[in-house]
Symmetry: C2
Subunit: 380 residues, 2 copies
Amino acid sequence: MARTYHVVSTDDHIIEPEGMFDGRLPSKFADRTPKLAHDDDGAAWVYEGKRQQMSGLSTAAGQKVEEFSPKSKTFDQMRPGCYDPRERLKDMDADGVDAQVCFPTLPHIAGANFIELQDKEYALAVIKAYNDWLAEEWCGADPDRLIGAAILPLFDMKAAAAEIRRVAGNGIKAVSLPSHPHTIAGVQNYPDASWEPVYDALSETRLPAEVHIASGKTDTSVLAKSAGSPAEVFVCLAPSSNMEFVATILFSGVLRKWPKLKFISAESGIGWLPYFLERADYTHRKHQFWTGSRIDVTPSDLFRQSVYANFISDRAGVELRSMIGIENIMLGTDYPHTDTSWPDTQRIIKEQLGDLPDEDRAKICALNAVKVFGLDHKPA
Amino acid sequence: MARTYHVVSTDDHIIEPEGMFDGRLPSKFADRTPKLAHDDDGAAWVYEGKRQQMSGLSTAAGQKVEEFSPKSKTFDQMRPGCYDPRERLKDMDADGVDAQVCFPTLPHIAGANFIELQDKEYALAVIKAYNDWLAEEWCGADPDRLIGAAILPLFDMKAAAAEIRRVAGNGIKAVSLPSHPHTIAGVQNYPDASWEPVYDALSETRLPAEVHIASGKTDTSVLAKSAGSPAEVFVCLAPSSNMEFVATILFSGVLRKWPKLKFISAESGIGWLPYFLERADYTHRKHQFWTGSRIDVTPSDLFRQSVYANFISDRAGVELRSMIGIENIMLGTDYPHTDTSWPDTQRIIKEQLGDLPDEDRAKICALNAVKVFGLDHKPA
């Protein structure tokens, strides 16, 4: 149903509620249904011999910064908006947010925990069950406002392509792809030919791919790099670590062969992009010959064709927005993580974008996302 | 001798000439003197059972971009300015460059190849011999214009501190420290207490530390991260990979305890800094409690106190220079690597800095480096 979108956030997170898998797995796997366990240490999902706790930093909405802690919480210690879609909608109302793109937590942001399960038939069943719950229960609470990012069985790219077509038929409007796919067992990096069925399916269905920061395998990548460093180093660097993904997709040639692909670099911030796009073009101009470049246009042109990025608070990027591309910038509110702008999103929009022309502000706050996610928007 | 510095580059490279070690090692190591070997594949240094070729990309000054190649060159295929300090001075004259800070190549940029040698007594002898040659032969050609960055025996921090004091007494004006020290066998990352003797010695001698991009151990870090990606991805990302070093030193607490330390982030570019400093301050504001922050001031204040960065071509950074700190920006010409501005440095200064107030341009082009490296400058 058409509505007027004023603020669309393209970076938020679901805390999966108890019982979400119940009755959703084929009968042969019924006794392997993931279950939520509660104890004094908080809540944990139990499946396939794993016991998976949630970081308290992922359920921080409403806490003061002095209260942030990685210690796992019980569900009654979180805002119900973390795990209940109807409560989420109320929290969005309080924050002036019309729609959110919501990422998974339990399977890891882009599904790494499920993709790496040993029994691939079971893994596929769990992934499909997750996406069914996402479409029916989470987005079902208000499909115009809750946009779920589906996970894919990336251990088998033909199955992943089939899942893209299946979820698109169920009303899903986005998929979540990993920032560092090659850190997940059995998955190659984006330039690899194994990805072709996925690129075909995304082009055909027009589903955009959200690529959230630090969404490869949990234990590698940025965290490992900052060995011996204070935790603040990881927090500080995590957003711009998506630079690796953006460079890889731009120089891969993929966006020349599949020009309809749309990638959103989520929670990456935008302030490094003016530098990065200038550097990417410089790199291409000086190094295209000895490297045997796979692209015959400037990387910044490919970026503006196919890549988007969102930010929470980022004045450097807003200042130089014309060097990024005003059509390529979106907002994220990161609910309910520690960096969330909730419940101050309106104040932050005013501080960060108050001095922009109305047209630019409207594109950044909503209209770019309306176009990329195909939302049914009725101009005010 | 006082001179007027108009352009000081703080990022350039030495290609070590044949015979540089001859007669410089203690007699017990004379038969283990590193030697240059020539064959059809180009030139290679041979020592301790290793045969170390030089990438043709490191000797590219004067080549067209279409001719760049990683294939090793013989010395007669390079500009003599690569390896002969008197010829280097002529190339600097042709480019309007008054002074250069020169990094080693054979020992790797910050000495990793020598630091990792098994026989530590031999390693120390080779490092001292290198620094002696650097002071006497390279900088000796014109000590006011050629500023060598000495390497340190980081496998033993007390020996490293002693070497800092020794080279300072020999007229050396800078040391080269690795961007990713913890990727070198036996070396810890900068927050580790093992570094204290080095921080004491640098504070006492006032020698600035140049930290060049990709100067940990050759085979790890950024290159490894971009597995499966085109080579352009590494070239594009290598400069901003120094973001890891800058974040680590800012959040480590080291700059609170040793406020006289000066670090130059070399070849890193500057355009990511406005974003990064904003993100660092945001991180500190929101995450200082649960992380148990080691600093009690904003990271951007520590940056302006102690960290500098240089660039070759970087319009995004120049636009937002006030968000970085006009006193913290320097030029680099990266002679004789592929990204060098040689012989077009004057044109690039005009293009990049032509519209700046004279005072800002003078600081970036020379005066900031004059101050940090203690050059004897006579105002024009």
